[in-house]
């Protein structure tokens, strides 16, 4: 039987291995377990602003000041934060690293109706903004975090890892 979703512990281990200093998160149903784990980790500075656009700008300021932040947001927040991602990431070539919860993915895989409208727009929006992304569906996909981190560094542009299942 396929086990869906990466584990919070293994994902957090990978995040720390990659040298992230700050976690800027708006918790959602997919990422709640990961956010809880990050919040209780003494090696990471965890903060939870009110809205995703704020988070993007805070992360941009942290990176400009020499830190390495990771954004954890839901796809709905990604959509809300479009102007901030444009203005604080794409335009000024700031390599935002985003871990995006893909609301609606699980329901779509189960063919539940009505389909969550957040589901079908996620990948097309990232494509439209020219943001490379990879899927994180289980612990087997954790190397995607390093891949997107390296691509952000080499391109100095935002990248994303999107997680279709709840972290376990």
């Amino acid at each position: 039987m396929t086990v869906h979703g990466a584990t919070a512990a293994a994902t957090l281990f990978e995040i720390k291995q990659l040298g992230f200093t700050h976690i800027i998160a708006i918790p959602d149903s997919e990422s709640a377990a990961l956010c809880d784990a990050a919040d209780s980790d003494p090696d990471l500075f965890y903060m939870s602003p009110c809205r995703e656009g704020e988070s993007v700008a805070i992360a941009a300021g942290l990176w400009t000041g020499g830190m390495k932040p990771l954004l954890i947001i839901q796809n709905t927040g990604l959509m809300e934060a479009g102007d901030a991602i444009r203005g604080c990431g794409i335009g000024p070539s700031i390599p935002l690293r985003m871990l995006v919860g893909w609301r609606g993915y699980a329901g779509a895989q189960a063919r539940r109706l009505p389909q969550d409208s957040a589901y079908p727009f996620t990948e097309p929006i990232l494509d439209a903004w020219g943001i490379p992304y990879a899927h994180l569906m289980s612990d087997d996909d954790l190397p995607a975090l390093a891949d997107m981190d390296a691509l952000a560094a080499s391109s100095s542009k935002p990248t994303a890892v999107i997680s279709g299942w709840k972290f376990r």
């Binding site: 941009a60 300021g61 000041g65 100095s156």
Partner: protein, 194 residues
């Protein structure tokens, strides 16, 4: 009420090694009084997010103050940022809210007339708030009062959120939207960030 340029002149006179982030009309007039490696123009970076960017910078660079000039219209575009400041702003962040009651840069359209920025900031927990729980919330009415307060504001532990009622009768220089990546790279270089 003070002339915005008088407020800028006062801050420029007292400023030493602080990062200064300007946004919207402030980006146009601040360069008239300052030419500093740590000046950062936030124009076109993200509507309403200058103080969020400043919060990130202040967290990253605790060894120096980060000063943000933010407009009241911009604040209304990201009002939740007040709550975030109330919870997380470090002691080295200073936000000057330029209160001109209008979206000046795009034509001077009025803001909601009953909005009270001091009460909003108070309700967001900024006074005795921020990460240090030593947050300062002030309303400064005149350029003279601002000049007298600046030596304290620029040195004491904050965070500070200072509402400055301003008007402007001086001509605005033309808008420039160029080389945003270069501006970020320049600031990182000035901060010795590789």
């Amino acid at each position: 009420m003070m002339q915005r340029m008088d407020a800028f002149r006062a801050v420029a006179e007292h400023r030493t090694n602080e990062i200064v982030i300007t946004t919207m009309t402030a980006t146009l007039q601040w360069p008239l009084v300052s030419d500093h490696d740590l000046d950062f123009d936030f124009l076109a970076f993200g509507m309403g997010h200058a103080s969020d960017f400043g919060l990130g910078l202040a967290l990253a660079r605790p060894e120096r103050k980060t000063v943000v000039f933010k407009g009241d219209g911009g604040l209304l575009m990201s009002l939740g940022s007040l709550v975030t400041l109330g919870e997380y702003a470090p002691g080295n962040l200073i936000v000057f809210l330029l209160e001109n009651r209008s979206y000046e840069m795009v034509g001077g359209q009025s803001l909601a007339p009953r909005v009270d920025f001091m009460r909003l900031a108070e309700g967001a927990g900024i006074r005795e708030g921020g990460a240090t729980r030593t947050g300062k919330l002030e309303h400064i009415e005149t350029a003279h009062q601002l000049s007298e307060a600046l030596p304290r504001i620029l040195t004491e532990e904050g965070p500070h959120f200072v509402v400055l009622p301003v008007s402007n009768s001086e001509p605005l220089p033309p808008v420039s939207h160029s080389d945003h990546a270069g501006r970020v790279a320049s600031l990182r270089s000035s901060l010795a960030v590789s």
